[in-house]
Amino acid sequence: MNTPQLITHSLRTLPRHRLRTAFIMLSSFVGAAALTFVLCVGEGARRKMLVTVRQIFGDSAIVVVAGGNQLMGGPRPDAARLTLDDIEDTVRGMPEIELWDPQQTMTVAAKHGNAAATVRLLGQSERSERVWSRSVSRGAYFDAMAVKRLDRVALIGETAARSLFGTGDPIGGEIQIEAVPFTVVGVLERFGTDIHGMDRDNEIVVPISTLMRRLANVDTIAAAKLLLRDARQGEQTAAEFRRRLRSRHALTSGQSDDFRLLTPVEVQRMMGKARSVLSLYLPLAAAVALVVGGIVAATLMLGAVSARIREIGLRRAVGAQPKDIAFQFLVETSVSVFGGGVAGIVGGLLAGQLVASRLQLTGAFSWNAVALALLMSAATALLSGVIPARRAARLLPAEALR
């Protein structure tokens, strides 16, 4: 056979079956695009998660969250039991805890002149700057005195500053938080979105005492972060802290904790779980799209082969061998499947980058996605084009031509 001529001949047949070629291309486009998109965004999300978790926990910290065994969900009556004194007394006499910072949060309406914004308000101590490793980019952090005196001072995130002050300088500006006047003394370092997709720059930080007394009128805190002197002591320290806090809350051995401790080990475990969702289940879902695309392509090709059974018979009658027929269909399907597949990969990558930048994920590129999409396309082309064509080519030419 004259291979180059057979290839050009096969390529020229493609536009003669325009609709079928288009549908095969479309089906492999959709499958490849879905897979690439999911893998790229998933990879971006995984990296983002690692970065955020490191931002929150650093290398050695324990986070105490008020409430029982669940991390998320609705309000619980026992959630109200964690107080500043709880932490302060428990930590006293635990030299392995270097520093700690309490946290209380609420969603508030903030105003500056006519500008208004809904922001997340965080009450923290002056130690927060070190404990959470987030300082100010301009102005100054409030100090221990401010916390003690219930000062009405605020640190403002970039997003909140933009909604309230526009392009103007927020430092020294006066804002109302739930009608209580505050003075802006600093602008928080940029953070971006966290793993939940929340914009951590749409925040205002005030002294926790001010928040508890002047705004929320509560006695309890939501959480506290304890910095450890030695990362390797994480589990022992957590166990000791738990024992002390339980006895302080007078919990008997039958009762479960009314707080939750996030230790480095537990964080690792949670991340592992999240990672398996991102790197296993999401791609699996996308692979289903790819397989469905493949089945569509295979069905179309199967139909095409039986519609072209006479053509196959004729080609055999003028001297084509079964392998020539298979080769022709391989060229035809490869071009349409790979054409669609490559376009899908490019489309998926572009969409992935777009969504990633919207979610403020670092634009991720996954070679796995490309390789997998190409592999699936190849399998589709082979299965859908060559197998039915080979079978048709085994018929006696007289039968195929009838």
Partner: protein, 234 residues
Amino acid sequence: MIELNEIGRTYTRPSGESVQALTGFSLHIGRGELVAIVGASGSGKSTLMNILGLLDRPDSGSYRFHGDDVATLDVAGQARFRNRHVGFVFQAFHLLPKTSALENVELPLLYSDRSPVAGLGRKALEAVGLGDRMQHTPSELSGGQQQRVAIARALVNEPELLLADEPTGNLDPTSAGEILDIFAALNREGKTVVLVTHDVAIAARAHRVIRIERGRLVADDSRESAAATGRTHR
């Protein structure tokens, strides 16, 4: 050139009943003959042609071509045989749609293991008088022209044997006459031509008329005028 001996071909209908399309069929055809095959519908003419062109396999008997047993060739060998030695012309033309006359004619060259020679397709089309229609697609050609494209396709690899199964069955009398003239001319140039026809007038132009009834050869008439060389009779 062709020796069929005691060829049998039985088909099984989907209903399970079997049909003997050819029974104990023997026939010798010499180089350069023009043979017409006639017979009622369903008598086995197409079956005979398909076996001659290796489009179908006999169940029994032997088929020798220049002394070689070709019925027992493997699939690849049969494909090569069809490509090199046989040009087949069908009642239904069987041209690739949306494909130019030239590309249709050059189809057998794709599967040929001879080194490609430029201009073979053009030459074949010119030989059937379609040198000015090379880029036309089948839908842009009349029935007679389409059949001439099909003949050019059968000629392009310069086979010794031309097989035509009712080549004029779908054509008006004028076009049919033209097609027949082409076969007659090709035969004069030395091609061996076997054609199936219902048309008595057409059969009258052949040197030799073979009549089939229910899968059996019942008459083999040679005309005096047919003084072709190397011809053998049963």
